[in-house]
Amino acid sequence: MNIIGPDKLIWGVEDLAAAKQFAVDYGLTPQNEHYYSALDGTGIEIRAKDDKSLPAALTTGSMLRKTVYGVKDQATLDAIKAEFTDREVKVLADGSLELVDDMGFVLGFQITIRTTNTEKAERINAPGDVNREINQPGVTKTDVPRVQSLSHVVYFVPDSVKAEAFFANRLGFVTTDRFTGVGPFMRPAATQDHHTIFFIQAPAFMQGCEHFTFHMAGPTDVVQAGTNMVNKGYQSFWGPGRHLFGSNWFWYFKSPFGCNMEYDADMDQHDESWQGREAMIGPDNSQAFLLQYREKWAPGPGGPKP
């Protein structure tokens, strides 16, 4: 099935003003009262938790109310509708589909709203392999990192085997790598991103979103955007660093969405020839390296000193 990846996450939050401010400070652009988007049009819809337009909440307190996937075309929507004869599939006014998956999460499917309106990946130069335009500084003080595209969602699920089976067998996702006893990283058929979902096995009372993230143009933007967040008083949860599975750079921040919100960049791309790996989860396998923010500093007392 030609599913591309998450187009939109719909939230029912407790503190609407805080969540909206956080979204703007993170770097998303308000398109209307509820919708905050990245450059390519993907994004998050932020509503009050008692908003009547929202699908029912899980009983765990999770604020994530719906994950909407972007698909290639109407034929894919038709195929999804035809696949799920075992449950109710609603066709909403905008033509999108809505159904509840085997874990109880509400999923939506729509012809993708993604545009190609993203920036070039960060260009780096190495001896004999020059990628950045001549006379183009790689970084300046005035650079504004821009959020490119909704990347992936990580879910706590009570049965990661069942979750994997649902996405593999019913929606055509492929497992790229796996943490033993924890769960799979999966990508849908119409993207080569290492993962758009990762499932973490957890007690039923934890079911919900562990984190979600947007792609940035490169590691510099991840670190620059994260630094901006720190300077605005937001609190880091984990990072900056670089994961091993997926090779994506990361920086996670706690958020008013009841889960972490991450920046990521430079994720591995895979096709059918990829052989999935498996490892035990833990600090050593979760990252190649981990750094920690420090206030700007330079040798010498604020001026040139030999």
């Binding site: 765990t60 307190g61 562990e210 008083g233 937001y234 609190q235 706690k254 889960c259």
Partner: protein
């Protein structure tokens, strides 16, 4: 006289009760580590102090922004990483990944003049 002076020298002044509005929280970073290590909540005219460390992983702080320890209606302490809710009076997690576990209570002292103090030995003992 000498005794009481010494006691005062062994304590760190954290402020006065009136620094806290009702149903408000505040984090403290006594070592200027860049991250608060404990926090005090004023609720129903009482003060409660806890280590700023979520029992879910035991090694990360709670708020999404400095001093934002309480939920919107100031009914619970929140860990913003995965939305855990804790009772203000006893630090017990009633929803979220650390369900049933507790925040670590930090002993503080309140003088007759409504001043809030913390003992150096507590700071050492709790690694604050």
């Amino acid at each position: 006289m000498v005794q009481s002076l010494k006691l005062t020298m062994n304590k760190i002044f954290l402020g006065v009760i009136d620094d806290f509005a009702e149903e408000q929280a505040k984090g403290f970073d006594l070592n200027h580590s860049g991250s608060d290590t404990f926090f005090i909540v004023r609720s129903k005219n009482k003060l409660f102090a806890y280590k700023d460390s979520c029992p879910h992983y035991g090694d990360t702080t709670l708020p999404w922004k400095r001093h934002h320890y309480l939920n919107n209606v100031a009914e619970y302490i929140v860990c913003a990483a995965h939305g855990a809710l804790f009772q203000i009076e006893n630090g017990k997690c009633i929803q979220g990944p650390c369900l049933g576990q507790k925040l670590t209570k930090v002993p503080i002292e309140i003088s007759e003049q409504n001043e809030i103090w913390i003992d150096q030995t507590i700071i050492k003992e709790f690694n604050l």
